[in-house]
């Protein structure tokens, strides 16, 4: 243990603890900006400088390990003067049109300015000297360099968490900026639109592209029937933007709020998550049969899940040779969109041209996905607008809804029923667990052999998870699988996805089925989720997801009554011709830079 003094108070901390964290032990807050719990130390904003007795310069508390006998002052005159200067300097290169900014009152620089800078500006406004570019090319987010303070959180996110490096630091000195390959628009580089950078940007330099006003327009258009679907991970995170602690489930209140906002049908992406299990599970079993029994060499195994649009774009850019390994299933959002303008329209007897399909997603990549040319199989744009969890919270506030005191209500029908298997889609390993619950039962006629249906080996926050399920006691149709060991793997965060994809590409992986989610923790850690998102908070959201699952009466996708009904009434059977028309697709190869 290391013994040091901070503001004349003694504290003992384990070796390797930073001064910043040692101060936290004493309840002393040191302001930070470039620091983020998910990322490596940068030490470049210098907002956290503190005074060390005897040192020539101030030190960055986030980057300095505590050492024996150290004496630190976090609020000396020297520190305050420097910190004030640093905040003023950041403000001088930041376009401070706060009242018009999407991040107004949610901006970390604004919070610091509140504390350290008031009255007249000390320094000259540098933003007048530079011609900044605002990049609106991505349907998912906006990159506004005039708001950028070069903390490089986004760069570290893109390289360390996602191993995409669509953005990097370019140029030096006053010309330094965060840029893409050859300064191309973000829509024309390897960016997966995952939004992890957006989630970590302390200012308004990276924000989601918002469609709130278009959704309000649709809601107020009496000619339109506005359908809204909510993704599994939204219900365990929305509360954070509305005053709840991380990990509180607000499903029922969210449904009520959506109804009060004026959506005509409030439905659940969980329904198509269950449907995805039927389609994807069947696809997997069919591929296995073709490969193992028929000896079809054309069949690509292992099969990757295809729910995560960030992952889809990643594989298109980086591993186009593996595109055939992707399940042909669309994501639950897009299945829902296609069905909202076909099946739902039929059932409810609404002209599909009058349906506006909105989805609430924990994700920014979903905005991109909804815009893809592949996603128009209903004859219309399957999903019209995608809002993030954060945008929904904004709408709730705009409407003046007293969220905390709302009654809890249930989703509308049809396409509002769900099972626990669908809910857990929101956490890494969830799609795999849901698929195994159903596939095992299809093949053996018995429940998957795990206590309470909880398949523990596929759960948790390890970057890459592996499991083997031995198939025994198969029914007659599936006896070619008797005794087989189904090998599965799960990865979340593209840095981990890359590990598995590389192993598969090099022929070093012996899996049959692989679940991949682009974001750390899966959708609960999505780029569209409330800010901040970090390991602790992801953990809490994950616990909420699994408790939601345990509390539902139905926990296997194939038991969802609406899923059974849609096969009887509309799709006939999984992977049917109709299914393929509406619920499946293929993706394309893209450049690798």
């Amino acid at each position: 243990m290391i013994n040091l003094k901070i503001n004349d108070q003694h504290v003992n901390v384990p070796e390797g603890t930073t001064v910043l964290n040692a101060a936290k032990e004493l309840g002393i807050n040191i302001p930070t900006l470039c620091n983020h719990k998910d990322l490596c130390v940068a030490g470049n904003c210098r907002v956290c400088v503190v005074e060390q007795k005897g040192a020539r310069t101030l030190i960055a508390a986030c980057a300095m390990p505590a050492s024996e006998g150290m004496e630190i002052y976090t609020n000396s005159l020297k520190v305050r003067n420097a910190r004030k200067h640093i905040v003023e300097l950041l403000l001088s290169e930041h376009k401070s049109d706060c009242t018009k900014c999407y991040k107004n009152q949610k901006c970390e620089l604004q919070r610091l300015a509140n504390e350290y800078s008031f009255g007249e500006e000390v320094f000259l406004d540098l933003t007048e000297e530079v011609k900044y570019k605002i990049d609106r090319s991505s349907p998912s987010f906006i990159k506004d360099d005039s708001k950028c303070i070069r903390c490089q959180r986004c760069v570290r996110t893109c390289s360390q968490l996602q191993q995409v490096s669509a953005i990097a630091v370019a140029n030096k000195g006053s010309h330094q900026k965060i840029s893409s390959f050859h300064d191309r628009p973000m829509s024309h580089v390897v960016c997966t639109n995952c939004g992890q950078c957006v989630n970590r940007c302390p200012t308004g330099a990276l924000v989601e592209k918002t469609y709130i006003d278009l959704v309000w327009d649709a809601i107020y258009d009496s000619d339109k029937h506005v359908v809204v679907q909510t993704a599994p991970a939204v219900r365990v995170a929305l509360g954070e933007d509305l005053g709840y602690d991380p990990g509180e489930r607000v499903t029922g209140k969210m449904v009520t709020a959506l109804k009060q906002l004026g959506f005509d049908s409030v439905l659940d992406t969980d329904f198509t998550a269950d449907l995805t299990i039927m389609e994807e599970g069947t696809e997997l079993l069919t591929r296995l049969k073709k490969a193992l029994v028929d000896g079809d060499k054309e069949i690509s195994l292992p099969m990757f899940t295809s729910c995560s649009p960030g992952w889809i774009k990643f594989i298109e850019h980086k591993y186009p040779k593996l595109l055939n390994n992707l399940s042909t299933c669309k994501s639950p959002q897009q299945m829902f969109g296609a069905l909202s303008k076909t099946y739902f329209a039929q059932k409810r007897n609404i002209d599909p041209s009058k349906i506006v399909s909105v989805s609430i997603m924990p994700c920014t990549a979903k905005k991109y996905e909804a815009d893809r040319p592949e996603m128009r199989s209903s004859g219309y744009k399957d999903v019209d607008y995608v809002l993030t969890t954060r945008e929904l919270a904004v709408m709730v506030k705009q409407a003046g809804i007293d969220f905390r005191n709302l009654e809890e209500t249930k989703y509308d029908s049809v396409m509002g029923d769900s099972t626990g298997a669908a809910v857990i889609f929101g956490a890494t390993g969830g799609v795999m667990e849901a698929a195994l619950r159903t596939a095992y039962e299809i093949v053996t006629g018995r429940e998957v052999p795990f206590k309470n249906l909880n398949i523990a080996p596929v759960r948790g926050m390890d970057g890459v998870k592996e499991a083997t399920v031995k198939i025994e006691g198969t029914t007659e149709d599936w006896n070619f699988l008797e005794g087989a060991e189904l090998k599965v793997a799960i990865a979340h965060g593209l840095v981990n996805a890359n590990k598995i994809a590389r192993a598969v590409a090099e022929g070093k992986a012996s899996y049959h089925f692989i679940e991949i989610m682009a974001c750390p923790g899966g959708c609960i850690g999505g780029g569209g989720q409330p800010i901040p998102t970090n390991m602790e908070i992801r953990q809490k959201r994950m616990e909420a997801i699994y408790s939601e699952d345990e509390n539902l009466p139905l926990r296997k996708s194939h038991e969802n009554p609406e899923v059974i009904a849609i096969y009887n009434d509309f799709l006939t059977k999984p992977n049917s011709h109709k299914s393929h028309e509406l619920l499946h697709t293929h993706y394309v190869e893209r450049e690798s830079y």
């Binding site: 310069t57 420097a82 200067h85 000390v122 320094f123 140029n171 000195g173 010309h175």
Partner: protein, 386 residues
């Protein structure tokens, strides 16, 4: 030790028998080499002046099997051109110094990080390096050297940015600690020394520390090579004993009308005429990596300062706030004061900013911008305003 005035010496460029000196060094133990360098009082010749013996001692104490010697030949300080001359004329002594340092710290591998603009030296340097590798082999010692090229960024002369650059990354300074002696290039213990430091170390092994300490002062032992430019009838490279005053220097190299000397390049200090006689060139006064630029009364100190700030605004890596934004503010600030768009008292605000940059910047670049700024603004305030 008394100041003996300006004395020219010729040690750095003196021809020596490399094989003999290296054989002698390789017969010495690691501790003996380090002790000799410590006793000589040699301090880094790049400008920062860290005791070379200490650096070697710390690196030698690391347990790691893999260690590196890096020769910092990214000579980028404005007004410095002595390393180019050394590499041009006595490269074998640079390589010899690296081998001796390697022996001292337990490293078998050295890198020379050569300034991009010095690429023209490469063919002859490779010829010299081949000779050196042959010589080392004959002596029966295991040590090899590779070149790595810079690409023109001033910041890559900063040791940790230089490591990043060698490793193939963007040249940006790292957080310290850990220091290079524990975690340097490729995250291995590394001793990084200036070109001249390595040559001087070899000379000390040849002549002994006892001989070397006869030159210089208590704080600034020995001699060093100066790059002299500006308003002088005799610009060029001169090796001088340390300890002279700026006044003595100006008497030798000035044109009779010298009003200021910039000691240590853009990151150094500006010494005005009234302080010439009281200012010693060395670690007890104004330290320098060798750059000495003389200005006569025809020069506008505003232009001089503007030029330095322009340089820093361009050459800051841009990573940390005080340096990236601070440089721009200083530059724009003096422009606005000159134009009368800001009141002259704004200079006081800028001086405070320079102080913040000195204590809050991440690396030596941002920390030293204030040196030139403050010494020029404080001594030539009128020229900045009017």
């Amino acid at each position: 030790m008394e100041n003996r005035g300006l004395i020219k010496v010729d040690l750095i460029f003196e021809t020596i028998d490399s094989g003999k000196v290296l054989s002698k060094a390789f017969r010495m133990s690691n501790d003996e080499i380090i002790k000799e360098i410590l006793d000589s009082g040699l301090r880094g010749r790049g400008g920062a002046g860290f005791p070379t013996g200490m650096k070697w001692k710390f690196t030698a104490a690391e347990k790691d099997q893999e260690k590196y010697i890096v020769c910092n030949a990214d000579e980028g300080e404005p007004g410095t051109f002595k390393d180019r001359e050394i590499l041009d004329r006595v490269a074998y002594k640079v390589f010899g110094g690296m081998a001796i340092a390697g022996k001292a710290i337990g490293s078998k591998k050295g890198y020379v990080y050569l300034r991009g603009e010095y690429r023209f030296l490469l063919p002859q340097l490779y010829t010299e390096l081949d000779k050196f590798h042959k010589l080392i082999k004959e002596i029966g010692y295991d040590f090899s050297i590779e070149f790595r090229m810079g690409s023109g960024a001033y910041i890559c002369g900063e040791e940790s940015a230089l490591f990043e650059s060698i490793e193939g990354f963007r040249g940006e300074p790292r957080n310290k600690p850990p220091y290079p002696t524990t975690c340097g290039v490729f995250n291995k213990p590394t001793s990084i020394n200036n070109v001249e430091t390595l040559v001087t170390a070899m000379m000390i092994i040849e002549k002994s520390a006892a001989e070397y300490v006869k030159l210089g002062t208590q704080d600034s032992r020995g001699s060093k090579v100066f790059s002299i430019s500006g308003d002088t009838p005799t610009p060029g490279i001169f090796e001088l004993e340390l300890g002279m005053t700026v006044g003595e220097f100006v008497a030798e190299f000035g044109d009779g009308d010298t009003k200021a000397v910039q000691v240590g390049g853009a990151s150094g200090f500006c010494v005005p005429r009234k302080k010439f006689d009281e200012t010693i060139i060395g670690f007890e006064g104004v330290p320098t990596g060798g750059s000495m630029k003389l200005f006569n009364s025809s020069r506008s100190m505003y232009n001089v300062l503007h030029n330095y700030l322009d340089f820093f605004t361009e050459e800051s890596c841009g990573q940390c706030t005080p340096c990236r934004v601070g440089c721009q503010q200083l530059l724009l600030g003096i422009e606005k004061v000159k134009k009368g768009e800001m009141k002259s008292v704004y200079l006081n605000e800028l001086v405070k900013l320079a102080d913040t940059m000195k204590v809050a910047s991440k690396c030596g670049l941002g920390q030293s911008v204030g040196n030139a700024f403050k010494s020029i603004v404080e001594n030539f305030r009128e020229e900045i305003i009017y």
